[in-house]
Amino acid sequence: MQKSPNRESLLRKPGFQTLLASLLCIVLGLLVGFIALLIINPSGAGEAIMDIMRNFLNYSKRTTQIKNLGNTLVKTAPLLMCSLSVLFAYKVGLFNIGAAGQYVAGAGACIYCAVGLGLPWFVCMLASILAGAVVGAVSGALKAYRNVNEVISCIMLNWISLYLVNTLLSGVKNPTSPYTYSVTKKLVTVDGVQQVVDHPQALLPQLGIQGLFNNNKYVGLALPLAILLAVCIWVLLSKTRLGYELRATGLNKNAAKYCGMQDRHNIVLTMAIAGGLAGIGASMLYLTGFEDWSVTQSSVPGMGFNGIAAAFLGGLNPIASIFSSFFIQHITDGGAQLDKQVYPAEISSLISSLIIYFCGFVLFFKTSLNRWLDRRGEKPLTDKGGKA
């Protein structure tokens, strides 16, 4: 008898309810994804869904498993930054669908600074933050001073950023491929002739972390830095005067204005911070050398959009985003494990979008749960009344 109220009070906790709802969304998403696999090819569907969920565990050798876990983590860091960017803006009442474009701007800035200008990693990283912040601030300023819907301006800026960055990075392109030179190289002009020389200073420090992942050379500073920034965003939102102002602006713009907060200024600042977060995310990927930029790409990288997914799956909580980002990246990489002859790799994108779709039911789930708890809570009450 004593246990039940305890369990109920746990079930009543909003945080626990969000966790439960997110897990339910994941299960439902995987279930519908599995149905899609069944339709494509029934015989291998069970195996395929397991492959997606196992991701790096598909490899039999423990060392390879760990190395591939490292690869997933390398891409988790930028995803986490994008999800922080989205959730930060969302807390202030803005839908930052422009995280993708801000991420692109950050990528362009850090690659150009590394390869074109030969600058060290921390300068490249600062350039990324700045570039993302500027792109974000443009959307913010348009919203604040011209009442342009941020979703519209963000989507347009995504494309503007993409083609500007493609143009900028064509200057540091490897002539034999559509890709730029790796960030470990730099271009120098000696006596009017362009030469490519080694430039390891642009790589993010590994801090010895690579040792934990079977010397996966791409793992390093990015992941701990991303987690640290998630904690910082949590502190900023919940403990500081700025966070108090920004949340008030997001929850009730009129009340914020009434008490003299500079609502317009806050909107620009919010979008600049959100942009900076997405921008630094790009440097966390490209400054590892894990990927190079293709200057012929004509679609905006999905990292920023996946950030929306991770932010919502994490219940818009910065700390929970760490885990949701890892999960989204985990199944995205898992999708790449599938037999391309039978299943498209996009099946994992389908699953993550299904999960997000089900996240729309989180509120519904919470209300139903509370109603169920209410009904249960009332029964003993009436029982007692009957006895008395």
């Binding site: 403990k239 500081t240 005067r241 700025l242 108090y244 102002e245 949340r247 008030a248 929850l251 009730n252 009129n254 009340a255 914020a256 204005k257 009434y258 008490c259 003299g260 907060m261 500079q262 509370n370 209410d374 809570g377 009332e378």
Partner: protein, 514 residues
């Protein structure tokens, strides 16, 4: 055999988590009577009406129509049973005509879905003549007076052949003359056999028009009385559970220095091309309560926005304690000694999804006491909130951490008043501070305002409530179509005279005097 009652709600109990909103309530509406439903805010009136309209299902109790038990699952069921309601805030389409609004939802369609409005028009005119509801069927809602809009709402119910008419606080937006007309309309409706449920907390109106009155208090049914057998004092004692002093006790005012000087203030309108406030000039002195009276929509809202900095001025000058604040940002006005109890506590006054303590420091969070090096000083905020909660008797479920949204309207308003008064302002701008509150809370807020005046503060009260204007203020300025049309002494004037000024029928030329 037909029952004596048109509608009966018997032993209704409705629970919400942690609260019993309706505890065994019985309400019996006789056919052809005007039955008042009286209760403070949070007494359970709205919940009871939501049960009647099928928005909530009661845990216990039954509803009977003409003696037959009925089940009301949604508002459509209520409609089918002939139950109609005039909401406090009208549900009209502004850019439609009166006729279009009346037939909305029950449009008479002929062949190919084409509207057949002629029959409808004839019926509307017939109904309006029968009940004395004067409307112009072809006028647009946005062009007609609030009183006519209300008559349109009443016609909507009659057009649908509703037998049971519910009026939710219908007099809140009307002038005294319009209120008299409404009372007459309600009597006409009763004479034609309609049953009326009149929700109100204005005792004088209940005494004037209702046959019987049921009283709720804190979710409980207190009783039903014949209004002929009781006095206003009896009713208020039933509603509040104690005797309430209607008259605001206050000593004569001793105005001191000029605190606020407003000169030729002109503010643009959001809705039309004209200015909403046109060249308003006046002073407010320390130790006096100046009230701006007028019917809703005559520029008071825009005036307050201009004064407090929410909207820029087109022209004019504002001086607070000798300092020109015409173009000062809101924060600067606030720290220079202006406190503002806003008209709409949900829109401006509170961040509803903030905790009570966070809302209490909304005007002071940036002060050193509550912020250090950019970080909030949570323990100080908690301590300050607890102090104000205690001092101003703000009641809430979980104290400082209660979500503002979950608090009752009266306590939300108390929190705002505590916040604005504790700032120790030199000028207190209170806009409709008692809107939608019950008698107990109104009494409390009036006492606070008078106490501020007695402490030597300048108070500018903007109110639509005639009684409040006459009771609380030391000087009345009547605003009509954005201009001050008269200055009245509350001791020498009466509601009728004020009504004439408010309706624009009378105006003085004193306004340029200052």
């Amino acid at each position: 055999m037909a029952s004596e009652y048109a509608i009966e709600m018997l032993n209704i109990t409705k629970r919400f988590p942690g609260i019993i909103a309706n505890d065994n309530i019985t309400l019996q509406l006789r056919r052809g009577e005007i039955h008042a439903l009286l209760g403070e805010n949070g007494a359970g009136k709205s919940t009871l009406m939501s049960v009647l309209f099928g928005l909530y299902q009661p845990e216990e109790g039954t509803i009977k129509k003409d003696g037959q038990v009925v089940k009301i699952n949604d508002p459509n069921d209520a409609n089918a049973l002939g139950i109609g309601m005039v909401h406090q805030h009208f549900k009209l389409v502004e850019c439609f005509t009166v006729l279009d609004n009346i037939i909305l939802g029950v449009e008479p369609a002929g062949k190919f879905g084409l509207l057949q409005k002629e029959d409808a028009r004839r019926r509307v005119i017939e109904l309006s003549e029968k009940y004395g509801l004067h409307v112009d069927p072809d006028a647009k809602i946005s062009d007609i007076t609030v009183g006519m809009q209300q008559r349109t709402e009443i016609l909507k119910m009659l057009y649908r052949d509703n037998e049971i008419l519910i009026f939710d606080e219908p007099t809140a937006v009307l002038t005294p003359q319009e209120i008299d007309e409404l009372m007459q309309i309600m009597r006409n409706l009763r004479a034609e056999g309609k049953s009326i449920l009149f929700i109100s907390h204005k005792l004088a109106e209940i005494m004037a028009v209702a046959d019987r009155c049921s009283v709720l208090r804190k979710g409980k049914y207190i009783g039903t009385v014949n209004t002929a057998d009781v006095t206003m004092e009896d009713l208020s004692a039933m509603m509040v559970g104690r005797n309430v002093n209607f008259h605001v006790e206050k000593k004569p005012s001793h105005p001191g220095d000029v605190i606020l000087h407003v000169e030729n203030m002109t503010v643009a309108s959001k809705v039309h091309k004209n200015n909403a406030v046109k060249g308003v000039t006046f002073d407010v002195r320390a130790g006096e309560i100046v009230c701006i009276a007028g019917i809703d929509g005559n520029g008071q809202t825009e005036f307050v926005y201009g004064l407090t900095g929410l909207e820029p001025l087109v022209d004019g000058k504002i001086v607070l304690q000798g300092k020109d604040i015409t173009n000062a940002p809101i924060r600067e006005r606030s720290v220079s000694g202006m406190s503002h109890i806003p008209e709409d506590r949900h829109k401006h006054g509170l961040v509803l999804d903030y905790s009570l303590e966070d809302d209490i420091v909304l005007q002071r969070y940036f002060e050193g006491e509550f912020t250090k090096h950019g970080f909030l000083r949570r323990p100080n905020i908690r301590q300050y909130a607890e102090k104000l909660i205690e001092q101003y008797d703000i009641r809430s479920g979980q104290g400082p951490v209660t979500m503002a949204r979950s608090m009752s309207g009266g306590n939300q308003q108390k929190a705002i008043i505590a916040r604005e008064i504790d700032k120790n302002p030199s000028l207190l701008v209170a806009v409709q501070p008692t809107r939608g509150l019950d008698v107990g809370a109104i009494e409390y807020i009036h006492r606070q305002i008078v106490a501020q005046r007695d402490a030597g503060k300048a108070v500018l009260l903007v109110s639509l409530e005639m009684d409040e204007v006459l009771d609380v203020s030391d000087r009345i300025l009547v605003m009509y179509e954005g201009e001050i049309v008269g200055e009245l002494d509350p001791k020498k004037t009466n509601p009728e005279e004020m009504g004439l000024y408010m309706a624009g029928a009378k105006r003085d030329t004193v306004k340029k005097e200052a």
